[in-house]
């Protein structure tokens, strides 16, 4: 009997593993149908993003570069450690599971971890000009590289929470993210074209903000739009949602700094 039980367990283990990977691959939008948000924008916005000089987001890249090379009062410059390795493709792997912090961290969290851990400086506030500029500078070095986040088994519960949030109705308008960005993308909401809601342009220059803003700021704007509760930037819910969105956009190239209305 114990032997039979063991055999049954041995049979079950691959089934469970197989089940998990099938689950991971359950995509509402097949990879082949993914379209960057820029393809839904008008030709003027597309031209602004494509212009290697006039893209206003590049002003934030410049600022980030200055911060990158600046030696802090309490520790070395970013450039002192990262000089040779470079930051190419780094943004394609974020958000990711941080085993030490035991939570999902995004690029902003990672930058602040370096700031507090290596530079012994206070962390930059979410949404602060410094953090947005630095994130833009780092993510810009992954421009053109395909998104490739890995869902660590430990991150699975967080990922599933974010997926559930994505499909759940929220707010006074009682609509879910999926209703706009999976069921009705390409159609119009007043004079806007609904995109598939991919995060690859962020941090992006948004004409409405007249500034570069983080993905979490954009997510909060979406929640405001449907009159739902808006968690503050840096809230684990938003960070986990970033992870789900990054997985959803797998293979789409990073556009940072993108330009959006």
């Amino acid at each position: 009997m114990p032997r039979a039980l063991a055999a049954l367990l041995l049979l079950l283990v691959p089934l469970m593993l197989g089940g998990a990977s099938v689950h991971a691959q359950r995509r509402a939008l097949p990879l082949a149908s993914l379209r960057s948000g820029i393809t839904f924008a008008g030709p003027d916005v597309q031209a602004m993003q494509a212009d290697a000089f006039a893209n206003p987001g590049l002003l934030w890249v410049e600022r980030g570069k200055t911060l990158w090379n600046a030696v802090g009062a309490t520790g070395p410059a970013c450039a002192a450690c990262h000089e040779q390795s470079g930051m190419q493709r780094v943004a394609t792997h974020y958000p990711r599971w941080d085993a030490a912090a035991r939570r999902v961290v995004d690029l902003e969290d990672r930058i602040n971890a370096c700031r507090t851990g290596r530079q012994h400086a206070p962390p930059w506030a979410r949404g602060s000009d410094e953090l947005v500029s630095m994130t833009t500078y780092v993510a810009n070095q992954s421009r053109g590289e395909p998104m490739a986040v890995v869902i660590d088994p430990a991150a699975r519960p967080a990922f599933e929470r974010a997926r559930a949030f994505y499909y759940q109705r929220h707010g006074q308008m009682n609509i879910s993210c999926a209703q706009c960005h999976e069921q009705h993308w390409g159609k119009h909401l007043l004079r806007e074209t609904l995109s598939q809601g991919h995060p690859t342009a962020f941090p992006a220059y948004r004409l409405e903000w007249q500034a570069v803003g983080s993905l979490q700021r954009r997510l909060r704007a979406c929640l405001f739009g449907i009159r739902a509760e808006m968690p503050p930037e840096g809230d684990p819910l938003l960070t986990e949602l970033e992870l789900f969105l990054a997985w959803r956009a797998e293979g789409l190239p990073v556009e940072t700094p993108g330009v959006r209305r």
């Binding site: 000089f53 002003l59 934030w60 570069k65 007249q210």
Partner: protein
């Protein structure tokens, strides 16, 4: 300076027009907005922008509230001799910015 980008060809042909592009990071606060407490936010826009070539003004703009944030200017110049383009601007708060770009004429 970190808050502006300038794009000028480093080598130009004598007497042939060339393109100058400059992008300045500035909020261009209109003066018409209120903050969260209903208090008016004072206007702060770049008032004057001047481009000089070897000290001589060749292009200038007087800006106002109608300009969007992070102004992007694009204009054409012609050069007779090699020299340096300098760009200077001042906003309502008195903050100054500048850029420079050397040009060699062939």
């Amino acid at each position: 300076m970190a808050d502006s980008r300038v794009n000028v060809p480093s080598v130009v042909k004598r007497g042939e027009p060339f393109e100058v592009r400059i992008s300045i990071r500035h909020a261009m606060e209109t003066g018409y907005r209120m903050d969260d407490t209903g208090k008016s936010i004072p206007r702060n826009v770049i008032r004057t922008f001047t481009c000089r070539y070897n000290g001589e003004p060749v292009f200038a703009v007087r800006m106002s509230s109608g300009f969007a944030a992070n102004p992007y200017l694009r204009f054409f110049l012609m050069a007779r001799d090699s020299g340096e383009l300098t760009f200077e601007w001042v906003d309502d708060a008195g903050a100054r910015g500048s850029e420079r770009a050397p040009i060699s004429v062939t």
